[in-house]
């Protein structure tokens, strides 16, 4: 069988293709982006014509994947952890409707917030929705799990959550491939009311969901990833979830038989596995990447049982991703720290690329807004968020996709004037358009600057749904034609751009300024591929 050197993300994508995937749906988001990108560049996917284009946001991706599943085919949807908040309505209710073709939902968490605004743990969503959840510890396990995830999904007629974290998503290892499973044939759901969540139907379906969650605890496809290995010493038992297991083995060695160890990588897990471990030892150490989910469950409210070490008592830091040294300390093993970082080393935060259009837009914005004072610019999620840092110090919010527009509305309602939103083109079509409709209907005094670089920049230049459509969209939503201003953010246009911004700030209604210039990275890439004829 073939062996490939793959990122965790790529292993998941390859597995889905090998498991008979018919449709892949996603919105770009670090650390999940490479899943869709791998499928888009796969010759096999192209030959089979697997659906593989980006969606407007995670919610539309989730629902389209559910539609593919409705038609009896295997579908996968991938997103970063905060994307699952956007897709949550569809996700939670897909557990209620159940699926027809297998449906796998990949959520890539980002503990330590390398590229995110929080470090929420998607495993809670699995429990919340009452669906199976897999948490691979390695690239190979991620590959293998996808097959079991699709089978489990079809057996229980449930969507299955695959939770990964940055470290697995963006780490490469060799992966042994399995035999390819053919795609499923088109077939309608046998029950025509399966996807109709009218209350009377939903109540019945919820009872079914509750009982299937109990049955899942004994499902072999899940429980085979939860393994208990007894140890010679009866002092400390260890529970390690997902990738935390690797850090444990790094420290104690593959063949260590000292500690009783329970590895958890499939949820829900049965009580007897935990009881088996705790009955054999005096104390338990719990290692989880992300939130202390198992630890909280074990402690309960009273925390009067067996002595537990974990993130809640400070044995492991409460926040941030794990690493082998943190786990060594938790085990009481020595940590061999090298030399300290010399004081001469400075921070090197990310910054705008040389020649970036966002930078020119912010130079004009900073000058135009200066007379009104600070605190009036709300922003959003993308490269342009970097303007919160010096030397720009230009924006005062970055909360969630689309929040710039709606926070500007609320601030204007409260009396802040002018109230300005800065949002990227892809973020605008992801979640900014509905907010703009609110503004139009209420005639809010807001200026929305769409910093249009014609791509989804921060994640590496994926297609933007907004490209070539922004003016039409804004007019369609109802922004007055005269207050949709288009400018080119270049230094030579600075004076004129400042003037346009000032004019629109003074307008007591909704205006949109589209500052449009292609991302310097995608432009360079495009020119290079045009000249080399790729």
């Amino acid at each position: 069988m073939k062996k490939l050197l793959l990122l965790g993300d790529e292993a998941i994508a390859q597995a889905a293709l090998d498991a008979g995937l018919s449709g892949m749906y996603a919105y770009p988001g670090t650390p999940s982006t490479e899943i869709m990108e791998y499928i888009q560049s796969s010759e096999d996917a192209s030959f089979r014509n697997v659906h593989r284009s980006w969606s407007a946001n995670e919610k539309t991706a989730m629902e389209a994947a559910l539609g593919m599943s409705y038609a009896g085919k295997r579908a996968m949807v991938a997103m970063k952890h905060v994307g699952l908040n956007v897709a949550a309505d569809g996700f939670i209710n897909s557990a209620m409707t159940g699926v027809n073709g297998g449906l796998v939902v990949v959520s890539a968490d980002d503990p330590s917030m390398h590229s995110s605004q929080n470090e929420q743990d998607s495993r809670f969503y699995g429990k919340f929705a009452l669906v199976p959840c897999f948490e691979p510890s390695s690239q190979q396990e991620a590959y293998d799990m996808i097959f079991d995830a699709f089978d489990t999904s079809e057996k229980y007629k449930l969507p299955v959550l695959l939770r990964i974290t940055t470290r697995l998503a963006h780490s490469r290892a060799s992966v042994l491939l399995k035999e390819i499973i053919p795609e499923k044939k088109l077939c309608m759901p046998p029950d025509p009311l399966q996807f109709v969540l009218l209350p009377a139907i939903a109540r019945k379906k919820y009872k079914g969901l509750l009982s299937s969650y109990e049955a899942l605890k004994y499902e072999i496809r899940i429980s085979k990833y939860n393994s208990f290995k007894d140890g010679s010493k009866r002092g400390l038992g260890i529970i390690a979830c997902g990738i935390a297991y690797n850090y444990l083995i790094e420290n104690i060695g593959e063949g260590n038989n000292e500690y009783p160890i329970l590895k958890i990588a499939g949820y829900p897990f049965p009580k007897d596995l935990i009881a088996d471990l705790t009955s054999r030892c005096e104390e338990v150490l719990i290692l989880e990447e992300g939130a202390p989910m198992i630890e909280e469950a074990l402690r309960g409210i009273l925390d009067e049982g067996i002595k537990i070490y974990g993130r809640l008592d400070g044995t492991v830091p409460r926040d941030g991703e794990l690493n082998p040294s943190i786990v060594a300390r938790a085990l009481g093993l020595p940590v061999s720290y090298g030399e300290d970082v010399p004081s001469v080393v400075r921070m090197r935060p990310p910054s705008f690329c040389k020649g970036c259009g966002h930078a020119d837009m912010y130079n004009s914005l900073n000058e135009a807004i200066k007379p009104y004072g600070p605190g009036r610019v709300f922003s959003d999620i993308g490269c342009y968020t970097l303007a919160a840092l010096p030397p720009y110090n230009a924006i005062y919010s970055c909360v969630d996709m689309g929040a710039s527009v709606t926070m500007a509305i609320g601030a204007a309602d409260a009396g802040i004037f002018p109230s300005v939103a800065v949002i990227g083109d892809s973020t605008f079509t992801h979640s900014g358009m509905t907010g703009l409709l609110d503004a139009v209907v209420k005639n809010s005094a807001v200026t929305v600057i769409i910093s249009d670089n014609s791509t989804t920049g921060m994640t590496g230049g994926q297609q933007s749904h907004a490209t070539g459509r922004l003016e039409q969209i804004c007019e369609g939503i109802g922004v007055a034609h005269d207050h949709i201003r288009v400018l080119i953010p270049l230094r030579k246009n600075h004076e004129e751009n400042v003037r346009i911004m000032k004019e629109e700030f003074e307008y007591k209604g909704v205006s949109v300024i589209i500052a449009s210039r292609e991302c310097i990275q995608t432009a360079t890439k495009r020119k290079r591929s045009e000249t080399s004829g790729d």
Partner: protein
Amino acid sequence: MKSDIILSGVGGQGILTIAATIGLAAVANNLFLKQAEVHGMSQRGGDVQSHLRLSDKPVSSDLIPYGKADLIISVEPMESLRYLPWLSKNGWLVTNSNPFINIPDYPSIDDILNEIKKVKNHIIIDADTIAKEAGAARAGNIVILGAASGFIDMSFESLENSIRQLFKRKGEEVVESNLKALRAGSEFSGK
């Protein structure tokens, strides 16, 4: 056999090409390998690093523990110092001498080089000049890999082969200039 390597630099400087070259060679040598990369926000001119672990036994952790790296390969001098907590007592530090200055408070290069010289085992190489002399101005990263090649427990030929494999698509000329860059780096360290 075990080689734990930290690659460091600034987003866009090509550390992943170094990683891919070593990775291909490791696969050809039937070694186990894990390589943690940085994608996303930091790639926009921020500090980036990659943990590369090669071994003849399965590798557990994707990350190298503190104090256990055998080698730091850095395409930027200040960035090479950021990872000293990972370098083992007998580890080697191989770095470019040319700073990449994209922050207003970049320290004096002499101060940086002095700190690097305090590391017991170090090689400072003017990769940009050597790359130009080799007729491969853009292959400074491969020059540095060449300079570090003696500290990676794999044959030099296997690195040459992965250069051939990696750059094949870009034509024979690019392959040859990168091979020249690799050899020039290796010769520098051999002196």
